[in-house]
Symmetry: T
Subunit: 150 residues, 12 copies
Amino acid sequence: MGNTRKILVISGPNLNLLGTREPEIYGSKTLGDMQDLMMGYAREKAIDLVFFQSNVEGDIINYIHENRNADGIVINPAAFTHTSIALRDALTTTGIPAVEVHLSNIHAREEFRRISLTAPVCIGQISGFGIHSYLLGLEALDQHLSKGNS
Amino acid sequence: MGNTRKILVISGPNLNLLGTREPEIYGSKTLGDMQDLMMGYAREKAIDLVFFQSNVEGDIINYIHENRNADGIVINPAAFTHTSIALRDALTTTGIPAVEVHLSNIHAREEFRRISLTAPVCIGQISGFGIHSYLLGLEALDQHLSKGNS
Amino acid sequence: MGNTRKILVISGPNLNLLGTREPEIYGSKTLGDMQDLMMGYAREKAIDLVFFQSNVEGDIINYIHENRNADGIVINPAAFTHTSIALRDALTTTGIPAVEVHLSNIHAREEFRRISLTAPVCIGQISGFGIHSYLLGLEALDQHLSKGNS
Amino acid sequence: MGNTRKILVISGPNLNLLGTREPEIYGSKTLGDMQDLMMGYAREKAIDLVFFQSNVEGDIINYIHENRNADGIVINPAAFTHTSIALRDALTTTGIPAVEVHLSNIHAREEFRRISLTAPVCIGQISGFGIHSYLLGLEALDQHLSKGNS
Amino acid sequence: MGNTRKILVISGPNLNLLGTREPEIYGSKTLGDMQDLMMGYAREKAIDLVFFQSNVEGDIINYIHENRNADGIVINPAAFTHTSIALRDALTTTGIPAVEVHLSNIHAREEFRRISLTAPVCIGQISGFGIHSYLLGLEALDQHLSKGNS
Amino acid sequence: MGNTRKILVISGPNLNLLGTREPEIYGSKTLGDMQDLMMGYAREKAIDLVFFQSNVEGDIINYIHENRNADGIVINPAAFTHTSIALRDALTTTGIPAVEVHLSNIHAREEFRRISLTAPVCIGQISGFGIHSYLLGLEALDQHLSKGNS
Amino acid sequence: MGNTRKILVISGPNLNLLGTREPEIYGSKTLGDMQDLMMGYAREKAIDLVFFQSNVEGDIINYIHENRNADGIVINPAAFTHTSIALRDALTTTGIPAVEVHLSNIHAREEFRRISLTAPVCIGQISGFGIHSYLLGLEALDQHLSKGNS
Amino acid sequence: MGNTRKILVISGPNLNLLGTREPEIYGSKTLGDMQDLMMGYAREKAIDLVFFQSNVEGDIINYIHENRNADGIVINPAAFTHTSIALRDALTTTGIPAVEVHLSNIHAREEFRRISLTAPVCIGQISGFGIHSYLLGLEALDQHLSKGNS
Amino acid sequence: MGNTRKILVISGPNLNLLGTREPEIYGSKTLGDMQDLMMGYAREKAIDLVFFQSNVEGDIINYIHENRNADGIVINPAAFTHTSIALRDALTTTGIPAVEVHLSNIHAREEFRRISLTAPVCIGQISGFGIHSYLLGLEALDQHLSKGNS
Amino acid sequence: MGNTRKILVISGPNLNLLGTREPEIYGSKTLGDMQDLMMGYAREKAIDLVFFQSNVEGDIINYIHENRNADGIVINPAAFTHTSIALRDALTTTGIPAVEVHLSNIHAREEFRRISLTAPVCIGQISGFGIHSYLLGLEALDQHLSKGNS
Amino acid sequence: MGNTRKILVISGPNLNLLGTREPEIYGSKTLGDMQDLMMGYAREKAIDLVFFQSNVEGDIINYIHENRNADGIVINPAAFTHTSIALRDALTTTGIPAVEVHLSNIHAREEFRRISLTAPVCIGQISGFGIHSYLLGLEALDQHLSKGNS
Amino acid sequence: MGNTRKILVISGPNLNLLGTREPEIYGSKTLGDMQDLMMGYAREKAIDLVFFQSNVEGDIINYIHENRNADGIVINPAAFTHTSIALRDALTTTGIPAVEVHLSNIHAREEFRRISLTAPVCIGQISGFGIHSYLLGLEALDQHLSKGNS
């Protein structure tokens, strides 16, 4: 574990349009901005980040399966947060430590967005800070992998 | 806003016993450890941190009222997260930007801990990373105050 | 009962900030304005009004216990309306006739503000008329004590 | 608005029998007593009160439509409080400011009487003070129309 | 009570079309057949039966009010069984002993027909026997009025 | 069907104590009184009545099975009304036409007595008329068997 | 069926005020505009349209009964959509094919407007297109009557 | 907007088998028949229709993203109507005006088909008219785009 | 009441296997141990204890009926606590004062064991103390019978 | 553990008024009577009892924290039973064995008093025996501490 | 375990009438046919099958207790599946491995048949294959006992 | 039907990792082991088995459509069991007889795994026997196809 860590950064449905999508909720930053932000941190920490986005639930599951040698996952499941038991099972099956992140504060939106199917099988959840939620998630994951959760 | 920021760090009921309390859930770190961790960050950023803990709901509300000139709040409402409409109202009344943090992953615990009354009136919520949840909360708040939420 | 009546006017959590708090919901009048309004009526009617506000649930209960020789209570339990069985029990234990008042129309707000735990043990409830809700509550209570509810 | 105000006082189903109906709940006063009580106040304030009672939901809606030039409504929807979306829509359609009143404390009765469909579109609700609920409702409405809700 | 009893026989909405309406549920008998059946029994027992049918909820309430000198009511509220608190209040207001009857077995139909708002304020309920439900209701009411419920 | 009909009259748990049991709810008549009342009707109509009471759910099911040559059943399932799917299945399995009867008005009692598991598989239900509920049930059943439900 | 069809166009409570009522929800067109729009289509298709509006539930039921020789109904039950079992029963009793229409998109409004009691007994439902919902409903009904639903 | 409009016509899972699938519910017409029907209308109106069907939720989302220059969407989400928050988000993200259509009357089917996750973010919903639901949806959309919803 | 009291000690289904049954929940003591423990107390107090256990709901009801001259009951209804309205009715019918006891803390087990159908008709409930729950129940009952509940 | 045990006896809100409070529910005994009753038992068993009552939730939590060297707790949380997660957490945090007691039978009162938040983290619960519930709780706790729960 | 296994085959209420009971749901085969089918398999595998059927819940519990030396149970609890916590407790108390079987597909029937109280304490559940469900259950149990569940 | 049968064996999301995935729940056998097990049976019975696994809901639906000439399906929908109405519709659309199987006992797991959307449209369901659930499902299906369900 002295070597470079491989961390998957997974974004769920509709996030490819980030920045054009309802900016009053999600902000005007794009996925590219998010990647730049995270790369800065990763370079300092010698973390190997791999980015993936898909609108297809099964493709995300396949991607997690294929990369199950990864050390950790930062995942924004977007709409799948609330509907996908299959994604939850993919996380428990592979056993990769994961942190769930959300751009918006899901606790302040529609009723059906308040319960997460995936969070209970993650280390923790971060929501409400725009693309910085991803960065905070990476820090939290990195900290967790380095020393364990205190 | 070029000056030192004043940030309240508020901890709710039973957190005074942190470190002795169910360590398998909350870890062995104490509130003192948490304060040290946060002070390191605060010194670098010229943030003025003020710490407060109480087991009395009304005392926390009074404290928020008396310090309503603060620039932000990092708050772990603990059990009050799920029962205190009064605390929620204190946050909206004073209008101070707040970030809600939790040591444990509340989404993976008892049913009655999954819904937060306070999170909908905060900027966001961070849960599951032990005392680092506080630090992540401070970073998120600092970032929010500096540039706004992107 | 030919003598001056003693009426408690109790205000719950966050009402000390009235006038600064979300004015689009609660108006710009303060607790002081409310007291002036009520004192005008009280003077004419030879009523002895005593005002009390606290953010601590237990302090309100203690206050009711200590003043259980009062003839009546006008109470705005604020957030405690929806969460405090203890306050409800304090009203039934002391048996003092009470009228519940609210500044805003609680029936038109969040779902969790639509049910009152205290109203079922009061004479009645008045909600939606700003600080005049207090005055209407006092009139209703005075009328009730003078002739009984018709 | 310096002139006489026209206020509709509307009573819903079964209230024509007031005084004979379950006096332990509703008291022994009649609709006539209520009208006398209100007329006293109205004369002082130069308010033009018009009284209407019907057991037919649609007739009440028609009446509101036909009198939509009125300045305000004091309405006791009785049983329709809990079942009539059409009456609610009549209030929002005409846009006349209204105050909902109830003789008994509906919060202390059967479960199905605790939720009001009409209160969310009124200024406020007054319940539990017998025929004085009507008078308090008139005062509240008058106050609201004169200065706005503070 | 040695004299002729006056019993109201009230039928709710859509029952005027009885016999043409979904005969597989309600049978092919008409309201006229029902009246003949009941008149046979009434003649023997010296009961004065008065029949009333309306599709307007308020007209049924008015009718009950105007005939509140009646000794009893056999009522088939039809669809109003499940929606009319006003009709329930009319029965409790006038205090006339009533028996609720239904042509079809409401317990075996749609979920929303299984709970009755009016039955809790009646002596009892009879459902499932076509127009004979009316006759059984009359017998039950007659028996109740003669000797009290044993 | 020109011959004597065999009708089972089945009473469920605790009805053996009828007359001593909560007389304010169930009246002071006994099962013996009920049998006398029914025998009078049965003699006129050449019906062969057989009475059975048990506190054991399975014994009632056995009894129905053993007498499945019967022409009909008048059954007061008492507490089993609300808990016994097995009794419901016994009625559908044997296919004997049944009428459900209750001494008290179950619609006016505790919430858990308002829904019947057995009524949906009976011809109809009669409740609220003391031991006359049994007699009315017998008449309804007899009528049903003679001419079909109209 | 080669002749002119008679189609009833029924509008429920408060729709007589269409155009003045909450234009941000319902638009500024009136019932008269709607009738003109429909008449254009009807003339081409040799359809005999009859328009009816009432705020009284029972009057709408009576109207449907009296016109049960009609070939079809376009109905906007407005608030009755969600509360009137009696109106639902009127549609099933008369058996006239009906299409339910709504001006606003009821699926995007208050929770209590999302479920329709009448739609399950109609051919279909159209909602959200202002007064054109009526026209679309007429076309759909006409198509259904001409060739059956494909 | 004087030019040809581009309208997407999207059909969800299992609709590729239309015509062979449960014809008693969905009719015997195929997707090809539906396309012919719509093309007739489109030609007259100079609308450019593009048809798309997929059984994969993510492919539909991708398709909407890739065609977000379209002027409108007629969409039959089929089973995804009730389960896909991701599809809902795709509609709000791209902001293309959409009309939801259904072949069968979803309000008259299983309970889980009565609530739509996508309808609240559409202009309106049309259900119950077989393949003509698509045509009506196109007309409604066309009308909406031409003059706005009245 | 100066004489020996007769107290029934009733144990419900599966308690005959006590001591062999899931000892981590119920302990290793047997029903015999429980009887010895209670007999010690009973001898001192001149109480006549009678023990009964059955797995058949109806047999327990029969036993209570046959011993309705008893002065009190200590009952552990086991699984019937949550399912038997008939047992509840047996307790209210005979009117014998009863105390409900449980070996395990039912409030800390499966959701379906948290509500008791029988406790509301008992004097009180004791749960969580192994076979000492029986002894505590006897003391509580003895105290209640001697002086009434204070 | 051969030495004197220290047992906390904690009483929640409104219990300071015991004896004057709704005597038909809680009896006429006072907290002083309760203390006398318990001291008799404690003297025999060489138990060191410490009594505490407060109406402030946080003060009870503080008291438990400050006395976390105690061997056990007998606690009557009164209204906090049903609302205080913080009190529940105080019990689990300190890990002191506790027994929950109630004067009245909470299972036979309002619906909202039937579920306890604290009982699942206690050894057991005793309710319904007036001030003797405290004594029984002490015995149960003493027994538990001496030999473990059998 | 090299010897003959003893397997109990238990059938719950109303199954004694199998073959005559609602054949469109349960088929025309009898319990005797089921026994023949199973005996064929048992003979080959040297399994000692014992058959038991009862309509009395407590008798089934007694039977399981008396045969708690058995190696396994194939049980069709019929209606008790959904109502008997006592039967569930009998399975956990004795600890005999059990397989739950159903003739019909309980997932496709009434809502109240979809949840099983007993299945969670069995190895697994098989439903929908007529009397072959028993045979499949025996095979599954035999396989489980031979090699453990893989 | 005298020829070889074609049976699809479909496995849903995450089952490709079977054997590595949470072995304490799913066992250590792989999909390959399952295929071997089934092939043994299939060879004897001259059944043509085709295996398919996918993590993409839509691909499974496509696969079923493309193979709708198959004689039967053994399907383990895994997480889709509880979320996919589209898969349910694919089974009813193609009309292929199907048996639902599960490795683990879904009735003994999380609440959200207890209800199956697909089972109601299958012949039956088998759950809890590891990879033998597949084999039992094949036998059940084979039996069903050969002689019909008895």
